[in-house]
Symmetry: C2
Subunit: 187 residues, 2 copies
DNA sequence: TTCATTTTTTAACAAATGTAAAAGGTGGGC
DNA sequence: GCCCACCTTTTACATTTGTTAAAAAATGAA
Protein backbone atom coordinates (compact mmCIF):
# COMPACT_ATOMS: atom_id res chain seq x y z
CA UNK A 1 0.00 0.00 0.00
CA UNK A 2 2.82 2.38 0.82
CA UNK A 3 4.18 2.03 -2.71
CA UNK A 4 0.77 3.00 -4.06
CA UNK A 5 0.25 6.05 -1.83
CA UNK A 6 3.66 7.39 -2.72
CA UNK A 7 2.47 8.33 -6.19
CA UNK A 8 -0.72 10.11 -5.15
CA UNK A 9 -0.44 13.91 -5.30
CA UNK A 10 -2.05 14.66 -1.99
CA UNK A 11 0.53 12.56 -0.16
CA UNK A 12 3.56 13.99 -1.89
CA UNK A 13 4.22 16.56 0.83
CA UNK A 14 4.58 13.85 3.47
CA UNK A 15 7.79 12.20 4.63
CA UNK A 16 8.31 8.48 4.15
CA UNK A 17 7.81 7.87 7.85
CA UNK A 18 4.47 9.64 7.93
CA UNK A 19 3.33 7.89 4.79
CA UNK A 20 4.20 4.51 6.23
CA UNK A 21 2.11 5.32 9.28
CA UNK A 22 -0.84 6.27 7.10
CA UNK A 23 -0.45 3.27 4.83
CA UNK A 24 -1.04 0.96 7.79
CA UNK A 25 -4.62 2.17 7.98
CA UNK A 26 -5.74 2.63 4.40
CA UNK A 27 -7.52 0.35 1.99
CA UNK A 28 -7.98 0.56 -1.76
CA UNK A 29 -11.62 0.14 -2.77
CA UNK A 30 -13.70 0.39 -5.95
CA UNK A 31 -17.40 1.14 -6.33
CA UNK A 32 -19.59 1.25 -9.42
CA UNK A 33 -21.24 4.29 -10.96
CA UNK A 34 -24.38 5.26 -9.10
CA UNK A 35 -23.13 4.29 -5.65
CA UNK A 36 -24.13 6.68 -2.87
CA UNK A 37 -20.93 6.62 -0.87
CA UNK A 38 -21.93 9.20 1.74
CA UNK A 39 -25.48 9.59 2.99
CA UNK A 40 -27.06 12.74 4.39
CA UNK A 41 -28.36 12.57 7.97
CA UNK A 42 -25.88 9.84 8.87
CA UNK A 43 -22.55 9.89 10.64
CA UNK A 44 -20.27 8.49 7.94
CA UNK A 45 -17.15 6.86 9.35
CA UNK A 46 -14.84 6.95 6.34
CA UNK A 47 -12.61 9.45 4.64
CA UNK A 48 -11.80 8.79 0.95
CA UNK A 49 -9.31 9.98 -1.61
CA UNK A 50 -10.56 9.67 -5.15
CA UNK A 51 -8.10 8.00 -7.50
CA UNK A 52 -10.19 7.68 -10.63
CA UNK A 53 -13.72 8.55 -11.64
CA UNK A 54 -15.95 11.50 -10.81
CA UNK A 55 -18.24 12.17 -7.83
CA UNK A 56 -20.65 14.89 -6.74
CA UNK A 57 -21.96 16.07 -3.39
CA UNK A 58 -25.56 17.23 -3.21
CA UNK A 59 -28.27 18.09 -0.75
CA UNK A 60 -31.96 17.43 -1.17
CA UNK A 61 -34.39 20.32 -1.08
CA UNK A 62 -38.16 20.27 -1.28
CA UNK A 63 -38.38 19.96 -5.02
CA UNK A 64 -34.79 20.02 -6.13
CA UNK A 65 -31.33 18.61 -5.59
CA UNK A 66 -28.46 21.05 -5.25
CA UNK A 67 -25.05 19.83 -6.35
CA UNK A 68 -22.42 21.90 -4.58
CA UNK A 69 -19.19 19.97 -5.12
CA UNK A 70 -17.50 17.83 -7.75
CA UNK A 71 -14.54 15.57 -7.14
CA UNK A 72 -12.06 14.23 -9.66
CA UNK A 73 -8.90 12.21 -9.29
CA UNK A 74 -7.00 13.55 -6.27
CA UNK A 75 -10.02 15.01 -4.45
CA UNK A 76 -10.75 14.22 -0.83
CA UNK A 77 -14.25 13.03 -0.13
CA UNK A 78 -16.01 12.85 3.23
CA UNK A 79 -19.05 13.95 5.15
CA UNK A 80 -18.11 17.41 6.40
CA UNK A 81 -20.20 17.32 9.51
CA UNK A 82 -19.19 13.77 10.38
CA UNK A 83 -15.53 14.61 9.97
CA UNK A 84 -15.59 17.98 11.66
CA UNK A 85 -18.26 17.70 14.33
CA UNK A 86 -18.97 13.98 14.58
CA UNK A 87 -22.59 14.71 13.69
CA UNK A 88 -24.82 13.58 10.82
CA UNK A 89 -23.97 15.40 7.60
CA UNK A 90 -26.11 17.35 5.16
CA UNK A 91 -24.62 16.01 1.94
CA UNK A 92 -24.98 12.91 -0.16
CA UNK A 93 -22.00 11.90 -2.27
CA UNK A 94 -22.77 9.99 -5.43
CA UNK A 95 -20.27 8.37 -7.76
CA UNK A 96 -20.98 9.52 -11.31
CA UNK A 97 -18.62 6.93 -12.79
CA UNK A 98 -17.01 3.72 -11.60
CA UNK A 99 -14.48 4.92 -9.04
CA UNK A 100 -11.29 3.74 -7.39
CA UNK A 101 -10.70 5.22 -3.94
CA UNK A 102 -8.38 5.09 -0.98
CA UNK A 103 -10.36 4.57 2.20
CA UNK A 104 -9.43 5.36 5.79
CA UNK A 105 -11.54 5.24 8.93
CA UNK A 106 -12.12 8.66 10.47
CA UNK A 107 -11.28 7.19 13.87
CA UNK A 108 -7.90 6.01 12.57
CA UNK A 109 -7.26 9.34 10.88
CA UNK A 110 -7.97 11.22 14.11
CA UNK A 111 -5.61 8.93 15.99
CA UNK A 112 -2.93 9.76 13.43
CA UNK A 113 -3.65 13.48 13.81
CA UNK A 114 -3.05 13.22 17.52
CA UNK A 115 -0.01 10.96 17.31
CA UNK A 116 1.95 12.47 14.43
CA UNK A 117 2.50 16.20 14.13
CA UNK A 118 3.37 15.98 10.46
CA UNK A 119 0.06 14.29 9.69
CA UNK A 120 -1.78 16.81 11.87
CA UNK A 121 -0.38 19.64 9.76
CA UNK A 122 -1.15 17.72 6.58
CA UNK A 123 -4.78 17.50 7.74
CA UNK A 124 -4.76 21.19 8.56
CA UNK A 125 -3.67 22.02 5.03
CA UNK A 126 -6.38 19.85 3.51
CA UNK A 127 -9.04 21.81 5.40
CA UNK A 128 -7.39 25.11 4.50
CA UNK A 129 -7.29 24.37 0.79
CA UNK A 130 -10.95 23.34 0.78
CA UNK A 131 -11.75 26.51 2.72
CA UNK A 132 -10.09 28.89 0.30
CA UNK A 133 -11.69 27.17 -2.71
CA UNK A 134 -15.14 27.30 -1.11
CA UNK A 135 -14.83 30.94 -0.17
CA UNK A 136 -13.75 31.86 -3.69
CA UNK A 137 -16.88 30.20 -5.05
CA UNK A 138 -19.04 32.09 -2.59
CA UNK A 139 -17.49 35.41 -3.63
CA UNK A 140 -17.83 34.56 -7.31
CA UNK A 141 -21.56 34.10 -6.82
CA UNK A 142 -21.77 37.79 -5.94
CA UNK A 143 -19.28 39.22 -8.39
CA UNK A 144 -19.92 37.22 -11.49
CA UNK A 145 -23.02 36.65 -13.54
CA UNK A 146 -24.18 33.15 -14.39
CA UNK A 147 -22.64 33.32 -17.87
CA UNK A 148 -19.22 34.18 -16.51
CA UNK A 149 -19.41 31.46 -13.88
CA UNK A 150 -20.15 28.99 -16.65
CA UNK A 151 -17.18 30.22 -18.68
CA UNK A 152 -14.89 29.90 -15.68
CA UNK A 153 -16.16 26.41 -15.07
CA UNK A 154 -15.53 25.32 -18.66
CA UNK A 155 -12.05 26.82 -18.55
CA UNK A 156 -11.03 25.33 -15.22
CA UNK A 157 -12.81 21.99 -15.49
CA UNK A 158 -13.17 21.05 -19.13
CA UNK A 159 -13.12 17.37 -18.24
CA UNK A 160 -16.04 17.73 -15.80
CA UNK A 161 -17.98 19.55 -18.50
CA UNK A 162 -17.67 16.51 -20.72
CA UNK A 163 -18.31 13.87 -18.09
CA UNK A 164 -21.04 15.35 -15.89
CA UNK A 165 -24.73 15.87 -16.71
CA UNK A 166 -25.57 19.52 -17.36
CA UNK A 167 -28.36 19.46 -14.82
CA UNK A 168 -25.76 18.88 -12.12
CA UNK A 169 -23.50 21.60 -13.46
CA UNK A 170 -26.45 24.00 -13.53
CA UNK A 171 -27.16 23.59 -9.83
CA UNK A 172 -23.42 23.72 -9.07
CA UNK A 173 -23.33 27.12 -10.79
CA UNK A 174 -26.43 28.26 -8.93
CA UNK A 175 -28.88 28.44 -11.84
CA UNK A 176 -31.66 26.30 -13.27
CA UNK A 177 -31.08 23.96 -16.12
CA UNK A 178 -33.14 26.22 -18.37
CA UNK A 179 -30.90 29.18 -17.61
CA UNK A 180 -27.76 27.13 -18.24
CA UNK A 181 -29.18 26.01 -21.55
CA UNK A 182 -29.84 29.63 -22.48
CA UNK A 183 -26.27 30.57 -21.57
CA UNK A 184 -24.86 27.72 -23.62
CA UNK A 185 -27.00 28.71 -26.56
CA UNK A 186 -25.52 32.20 -26.32
CA UNK A 187 -28.85 33.96 -25.81
CA UNK B 1 -0.87 37.54 28.70
CA UNK B 2 -1.50 33.92 29.60
CA UNK B 3 -4.09 34.96 32.17
CA UNK B 4 -5.89 36.96 29.50
CA UNK B 5 -5.92 34.22 26.84
CA UNK B 6 -7.29 31.72 29.32
CA UNK B 7 -10.68 33.39 29.23
CA UNK B 8 -11.03 33.62 25.45
CA UNK B 9 -13.38 31.00 24.01
CA UNK B 10 -11.24 29.94 21.11
CA UNK B 11 -8.41 28.96 23.47
CA UNK B 12 -10.54 27.02 25.91
CA UNK B 13 -9.85 23.65 24.25
CA UNK B 14 -6.11 24.03 24.78
CA UNK B 15 -4.08 22.71 27.70
CA UNK B 16 -2.23 25.09 29.98
CA UNK B 17 1.07 24.09 28.47
CA UNK B 18 -0.04 24.84 24.92
CA UNK B 19 -1.57 28.12 26.00
CA UNK B 20 1.63 29.18 27.71
CA UNK B 21 3.51 28.49 24.48
CA UNK B 22 1.09 30.60 22.50
CA UNK B 23 1.06 33.40 25.05
CA UNK B 24 4.79 33.93 24.50
CA UNK B 25 4.08 35.14 20.99
CA UNK B 26 0.89 37.16 21.22
CA UNK B 27 0.25 40.82 21.74
CA UNK B 28 -2.93 42.67 22.67
CA UNK B 29 -3.62 45.58 20.31
CA UNK B 30 -6.40 48.11 19.70
CA UNK B 31 -7.30 49.97 16.52
CA UNK B 32 -9.93 52.62 15.87
CA UNK B 33 -13.04 52.28 13.75
CA UNK B 34 -12.25 52.62 10.07
CA UNK B 35 -8.84 50.94 10.21
CA UNK B 36 -8.08 48.66 7.26
CA UNK B 37 -6.31 45.89 9.12
CA UNK B 38 -5.77 43.58 6.16
CA UNK B 39 -5.15 44.83 2.64
CA UNK B 40 -5.97 43.03 -0.59
CA UNK B 41 -3.05 42.25 -2.90
CA UNK B 42 -0.60 42.18 -0.01
CA UNK B 43 0.91 39.38 1.99
CA UNK B 44 -0.32 40.21 5.48
CA UNK B 45 1.90 38.80 8.21
CA UNK B 46 -0.48 38.76 11.17
CA UNK B 47 -3.24 36.57 12.48
CA UNK B 48 -5.76 38.22 14.82
CA UNK B 49 -8.43 37.16 17.24
CA UNK B 50 -11.14 39.74 17.72
CA UNK B 51 -11.94 40.47 21.35
CA UNK B 52 -14.34 43.36 20.99
CA UNK B 53 -15.83 45.32 18.14
CA UNK B 54 -16.98 44.31 14.67
CA UNK B 55 -15.09 43.83 11.40
CA UNK B 56 -15.92 42.96 7.82
CA UNK B 57 -13.98 41.40 4.95
CA UNK B 58 -14.68 42.66 1.46
CA UNK B 59 -13.32 42.54 -2.06
CA UNK B 60 -13.41 45.37 -4.58
CA UNK B 61 -15.15 44.82 -7.89
CA UNK B 62 -15.41 47.15 -10.83
CA UNK B 63 -18.25 49.22 -9.48
CA UNK B 64 -19.04 47.58 -6.18
CA UNK B 65 -17.63 46.24 -2.95
CA UNK B 66 -18.70 42.77 -1.86
CA UNK B 67 -18.72 42.07 1.87
CA UNK B 68 -18.44 38.34 2.38
CA UNK B 69 -17.59 37.98 6.04
CA UNK B 70 -18.36 39.61 9.38
CA UNK B 71 -16.41 39.07 12.58
CA UNK B 72 -17.52 39.66 16.13
CA UNK B 73 -15.90 38.97 19.47
CA UNK B 74 -14.20 35.57 19.24
CA UNK B 75 -13.73 35.53 15.46
CA UNK B 76 -10.37 34.83 13.87
CA UNK B 77 -9.26 37.36 11.33
CA UNK B 78 -6.52 36.97 8.72
CA UNK B 79 -5.74 37.15 5.03
CA UNK B 80 -6.78 33.72 3.74
CA UNK B 81 -4.30 33.58 0.94
CA UNK B 82 -1.45 34.95 3.03
CA UNK B 83 -2.13 32.42 5.76
CA UNK B 84 -2.77 29.43 3.54
CA UNK B 85 -0.57 29.97 0.50
CA UNK B 86 1.80 32.75 1.54
CA UNK B 87 0.52 34.80 -1.37
CA UNK B 88 -1.22 38.19 -1.58
CA UNK B 89 -4.84 37.95 -0.51
CA UNK B 90 -8.03 39.06 -2.21
CA UNK B 91 -9.76 40.55 0.82
CA UNK B 92 -9.63 43.77 2.75
CA UNK B 93 -10.61 43.67 6.39
CA UNK B 94 -12.04 46.86 7.83
CA UNK B 95 -12.85 47.52 11.45
CA UNK B 96 -16.41 48.82 11.71
CA UNK B 97 -15.98 49.82 15.35
CA UNK B 98 -13.06 50.45 17.65
CA UNK B 99 -11.61 46.98 18.18
CA UNK B 100 -9.44 45.12 20.67
CA UNK B 101 -7.54 42.20 19.19
CA UNK B 102 -5.00 39.56 20.00
CA UNK B 103 -2.22 39.60 17.43
CA UNK B 104 0.24 36.89 16.47
CA UNK B 105 2.75 36.77 13.65
CA UNK B 106 1.95 34.13 11.04
CA UNK B 107 5.58 33.03 11.10
CA UNK B 108 5.36 32.42 14.86
CA UNK B 109 2.06 30.62 14.50
CA UNK B 110 3.50 28.30 11.85
CA UNK B 111 6.47 27.56 14.09
CA UNK B 112 4.04 26.61 16.83
CA UNK B 113 2.09 24.39 14.42
CA UNK B 114 5.26 22.51 13.62
CA UNK B 115 6.55 22.32 17.18
CA UNK B 116 3.42 21.48 19.15
CA UNK B 117 0.99 18.81 18.00
CA UNK B 118 -1.80 20.13 20.19
CA UNK B 119 -1.55 23.55 18.60
CA UNK B 120 -1.38 21.97 15.14
CA UNK B 121 -4.68 20.22 15.76
CA UNK B 122 -6.12 23.41 17.21
CA UNK B 123 -5.21 25.17 13.95
CA UNK B 124 -6.75 22.33 11.98
CA UNK B 125 -10.02 22.76 13.81
CA UNK B 126 -10.07 26.50 13.18
CA UNK B 127 -9.83 25.90 9.43
CA UNK B 128 -12.44 23.15 9.59
CA UNK B 129 -14.97 25.30 11.41
CA UNK B 130 -14.52 28.13 8.94
CA UNK B 131 -14.88 25.62 6.13
CA UNK B 132 -18.17 24.17 7.27
CA UNK B 133 -19.63 27.63 7.91
CA UNK B 134 -18.57 28.86 4.48
CA UNK B 135 -19.97 25.82 2.69
CA UNK B 136 -23.28 26.21 4.48
CA UNK B 137 -23.51 29.78 3.24
CA UNK B 138 -22.76 28.67 -0.30
CA UNK B 139 -25.48 26.03 -0.18
CA UNK B 140 -27.97 28.47 1.35
CA UNK B 141 -27.45 30.78 -1.63
CA UNK B 142 -28.95 28.06 -3.82
CA UNK B 143 -31.66 26.76 -1.55
CA UNK B 144 -32.99 29.87 0.04
CA UNK B 145 -34.42 33.03 -1.40
CA UNK B 146 -33.07 36.41 -0.41
CA UNK B 147 -35.91 37.01 2.06
CA UNK B 148 -35.17 33.79 3.91
CA UNK B 149 -31.44 34.51 3.99
CA UNK B 150 -32.24 37.86 5.56
CA UNK B 151 -34.49 36.23 8.15
CA UNK B 152 -31.78 33.70 9.02
CA UNK B 153 -29.27 36.49 9.35
CA UNK B 154 -31.49 38.51 11.71
CA UNK B 155 -32.14 35.41 13.79
CA UNK B 156 -28.53 34.27 14.03
CA UNK B 157 -26.85 37.65 14.20
CA UNK B 158 -29.22 40.17 15.72
CA UNK B 159 -26.33 42.17 17.09
CA UNK B 160 -24.70 42.54 13.66
CA UNK B 161 -28.01 43.72 12.28
CA UNK B 162 -27.97 46.57 14.75
CA UNK B 163 -24.32 47.49 14.43
CA UNK B 164 -23.54 47.12 10.73
CA UNK B 165 -24.65 49.33 7.82
CA UNK B 166 -27.38 47.71 5.74
CA UNK B 167 -25.43 48.18 2.55
CA UNK B 168 -22.81 45.80 3.91
CA UNK B 169 -25.42 43.29 5.00
CA UNK B 170 -27.03 43.47 1.56
CA UNK B 171 -23.86 42.44 -0.23
CA UNK B 172 -23.16 39.81 2.43
CA UNK B 173 -26.56 38.31 1.62
CA UNK B 174 -25.88 38.53 -2.10
CA UNK B 175 -28.44 41.17 -3.05
CA UNK B 176 -28.44 44.89 -3.78
CA UNK B 177 -29.30 47.43 -1.17
CA UNK B 178 -32.56 48.15 -2.98
CA UNK B 179 -33.61 44.51 -2.78
CA UNK B 180 -32.74 44.35 0.90
CA UNK B 181 -34.78 47.46 1.51
CA UNK B 182 -37.73 45.84 -0.28
CA UNK B 183 -37.38 42.71 1.83
CA UNK B 184 -37.25 44.72 5.04
CA UNK B 185 -40.31 46.69 3.98
CA UNK B 186 -42.15 43.40 3.49
CA UNK B 187 -42.92 43.97 -0.17
C1' DT C 1 -31.79 -1.56 -34.69
C1' DT C 2 -35.69 -0.22 -31.89
C1' DC C 3 -37.90 1.22 -27.88
C1' DA C 4 -38.07 3.35 -23.52
C1' DT C 5 -35.94 6.47 -20.57
C1' DT C 6 -33.45 10.37 -19.52
C1' DT C 7 -31.39 14.64 -20.71
C1' DT C 8 -31.32 18.92 -23.02
C1' DT C 9 -33.36 22.56 -25.45
C1' DT C 10 -36.98 25.70 -26.62
C1' DA C 11 -41.00 28.60 -25.86
C1' DA C 12 -44.17 31.63 -23.38
C1' DC C 13 -45.10 33.78 -19.45
C1' DA C 14 -44.37 35.12 -14.42
C1' DA C 15 -41.62 36.57 -10.68
C1' DA C 16 -37.54 38.31 -8.65
C1' DT C 17 -33.87 41.29 -8.72
C1' DG C 18 -31.08 45.01 -10.79
C1' DT C 19 -30.37 50.03 -12.21
C1' DA C 20 -30.75 54.84 -11.81
C1' DA C 21 -32.48 58.75 -9.76
C1' DA C 22 -34.84 61.20 -6.25
C1' DA C 23 -36.45 61.82 -1.63
C1' DG C 24 -36.06 61.14 3.17
C1' DG C 25 -33.43 60.15 7.32
C1' DT C 26 -29.35 60.25 10.45
C1' DG C 27 -25.37 61.69 12.80
C1' DG C 28 -20.99 64.23 13.32
C1' DG C 29 -18.41 68.49 13.21
C1' DC C 30 -18.37 73.37 13.26
C1' DG D 1 -28.50 74.39 16.17
C1' DC D 2 -27.24 73.93 11.36
C1' DC D 3 -25.05 71.96 7.53
C1' DC D 4 -22.97 68.45 5.08
C1' DA D 5 -22.02 63.88 4.03
C1' DC D 6 -23.57 59.50 4.03
C1' DC D 7 -27.06 55.94 4.50
C1' DT D 8 -31.66 54.12 3.55
C1' DT D 9 -35.92 53.96 1.25
C1' DT D 10 -38.87 54.62 -2.59
C1' DT D 11 -40.21 54.78 -7.42
C1' DA D 12 -40.25 53.51 -12.25
C1' DC D 13 -38.50 50.81 -15.49
C1' DA D 14 -35.19 47.24 -17.50
C1' DT D 15 -33.14 42.86 -17.21
C1' DT D 16 -32.32 38.48 -15.61
C1' DT D 17 -33.76 34.33 -14.04
C1' DG D 18 -37.39 31.08 -12.72
C1' DT D 19 -41.55 28.14 -13.87
C1' DT D 20 -44.08 25.14 -16.50
C1' DA D 21 -44.83 22.51 -20.34
C1' DA D 22 -43.64 20.48 -24.44
C1' DA D 23 -40.63 19.12 -28.12
C1' DA D 24 -36.28 17.54 -29.60
C1' DA D 25 -32.13 15.13 -28.87
C1' DA D 26 -29.28 11.85 -26.72
C1' DT D 27 -28.53 7.61 -24.25
C1' DG D 28 -28.70 2.89 -23.06
C1' DA D 29 -30.60 -1.71 -22.84
C1' DA D 30 -32.78 -5.63 -25.09
Amino acid sequence: MYQQLKHIDIFKSLSNDALIEISKHVLGVTYPKGTILIHADKIEPYFYILQSGVARAYSDGENQQITFWFGESGSVLFSFNSYINNKPGYENIELLEDCALIQIKLADLFNLYHANIEIANWGRKIAEQELIATERRLIDRSFKGAAERYQDFSNHSPSLLKRVALKHIASYLGVTQVTLSRIRGGK
